[in-house]
Assembly symmetry: C2
């Protein structure tokens, strides 16, 4: 696989983003959804901010009360034996055997704009800021599906009641229409196909399962983009492979003559995130035709290996120009990068490795 990483990488980093909250610092500008709007490339950045803490032993947790529109900051002592601080992103109380009680930062969606796809200007205000009670811990990892002149944007809504996937639509990236929580918790990595297949909308999704089952990819149908059903298991983690820990949709599925090309992410059980590809039947996307045995992109560059949470490449969107896929991807839960790949090469790898 020939990968052309842009010379500008990492093209957007936390220092390029002015904190929206006073007394906060930006620790991440990453995992952006991507849209082509008018003559610009828009990156719907996930911006993660946290209250500045002078004391390294104190973790300050930002929680946004969407009703009163107040930011509440809770303080925790890292020596507090009631909590386990073993992840920079989250921590949990000792009575929880897994998962998290709090996030160490609050994310929301902010737009970065570019005419050339390489040099971006970051908006000074958020585009999607927590606007209901399902988002008091933040909004994460937007994906954008364009249909005609409407852009459907879905993202994770995180709060103490769970992690839902929510949908809004926009025509101008200024105002938006709320379409509610489209997938019940716990679900992430929802990718809506860009057109109906046999009269129904399709979406990939990735439930997180408590009692039984793995972090696998599922697929569902919808008559209206708001209500989803007919849930089917699509693809699972693979023991002994680079995607043995968890998988989830990455980019909006790309229509090719061979099938729907889905660029997905997979992680090892040690949380090393790579991107792979699968090919789904054009007429019946619940059928996996092929899946790459090896990643198409893995953390190799310094900015992909080191950061807030290292060894992560995480693509949430791309732009297709004939054979060239420009894939924008988050690196190390910190910054944004971009690379170009040949769709024909990916399809060839899929054919060889199927």
């Amino acid at each position: 696989m020939n990968i052309y990483r842009y010379e500008e990488n990492p093209m957007i980093t936390p220092v390029d983003v002015k904190p929206y909250h006073e007394g906060f610092e930006v620790i991440g500008a990453f995992n952006a959804g991507v849209a082509k709007y008018k003559d610009e490339v828009l990156l719907l950045l996930r911006v993660a901010e946290r209250p500045i803490s002078e004391n390294p032993d104190i973790v300050k947790v930002p929680i946004y009360n969407t009703e009163s529109k107040e930011m509440i900051i809770k303080e925790f002592d890292k020596n507090d034996k009631n909590y386990i601080f073993d992840d920079p992103r989250t921590f949990r109380s000792t009575d929880k055997v897994e998962g998290f009680s709090y996030l160490t930062s609050l994310s929301y969606i902010r737009i970065a704009r570019s005419k050339d796809g390489r040099n971006f200007t970051v908006d000074s205000e958020p585009f999607l800021y927590p606007f209901n009670e399902y988002q008091s811990f933040g909004i994460e990892d937007a994906r954008v599906t364009q249909m005609g002149d409407t852009y459907y944007i879905n993202f994770s809504s995180v709060s103490e009641v769970g992690v839902c996937d929510s949908l809004v639509s926009t025509k101008d990236f200024v105002t938006f229409t709320d379409k509610g929580n489209i997938f019940a918790p716990e679900n992430k990595d929802v990718l809506i196909f860009p057109e109906k297949v046999n009269g129904l909308y399709y979406a990939l999704h990735r439930p997180s399962l408590k009692s039984i089952g793995n972090y696998d990819m599922w697929i569902a149908t919808s008559p209206d983009l708001q209500h989803w059903g007919n849930h089917k298991h699509l693809a699972g983690v693979r023991e002994g492979h680079w995607d043995n820990g968890r998988i989830g949709g990455g980019l909006v599925p790309i229509k090719t003559e061979k099938g729907w090309l889905e660029i997905y992410h997979g992680a090892t059980s040690e949380s090393r995130y790579c991107m792979g590809a699968m090919l789904l039947d054009l007429e019946n996307p619940t059928k996996v035709i092929a899946r790459t045995k090896t990643p198409i992109l893995e953390p190799e560059a310094e900015y992909e290996k080191k950061g807030f949470f290292g060894e992560v490449v995480f693509g949430c969107g791309g732009i297709v120009n004939e054979d060239i896929l420009q894939m924008y991807y988050g690196v190390s839960d910190t910054s944004m990068a971009c690379c170009e790949l040949s769709i024909q090469e990916i399809l060839k790898q899929l054919e060889e490795e199927m």
Copy 2:
């Protein structure tokens, strides 16, 4: 609360049900959905069967291959240090911190019929037997919502890929139409309202959350009963109460002049299951008007306290005759019982405790 428990209780027990599988024993006939069909009361029993094991140290796990239609029996030694055998219903491998790897029995749905609502005859064949790959570990806890002459039956589909909620419809309780998995895993205790509210179908559901959130009740809407969205958090577990561990819908919501009356189950963190009530706004069922502080039914009778998994009353269906609610309920994950309650008394308790 005046509770009239039937003299026939427990009215159906495992010895009343002939095993469907050779070499198996019935260990449970419980958690039945309820339908009034023609002049009969139908109980859609969850029948749990397990392979007879001569050796108390050997656990035999039944798994049904829905493609080849073969029952596979896996054997596990209770002394095997790779598994933790701390629950009669399930066990897990030591690399799982919670949840289960296998069930110790396989459940399916079998109908019991009665003219008087007290004396039942159990069909000799299953009505709903695992029919797709999401059900290889079984079908559990049916609920029945009647609309006109169509009965919608939803239930848990359990397999190694997760626990989904699935829907079928029937007009005769002989044949049925498969409507697919209507809620993605992990979800249980789905209760479909018996009529549309403001043009949409409604259902309660109970996701099981891995990372954050409790075993709470949610509510969703649908245009067609198959696709669900607009997921909202409805009611949570209550610290210090009888329902501090988990809650979930019980009976199909009952329309009253005061609102939708939902009889739900709640359990302590030690898994003592009781039934409580909540009242939802008639025009907007996402709004909880009142909720009982104390249970309306709790395990008191011997058959409710002792059994395969004791201290459980678990209602999945009922029949309303003017003020009388005949509630059929599973006891101790073993048998079926029935009691009569006054709807006005429940509404009065709701008013007093709101």
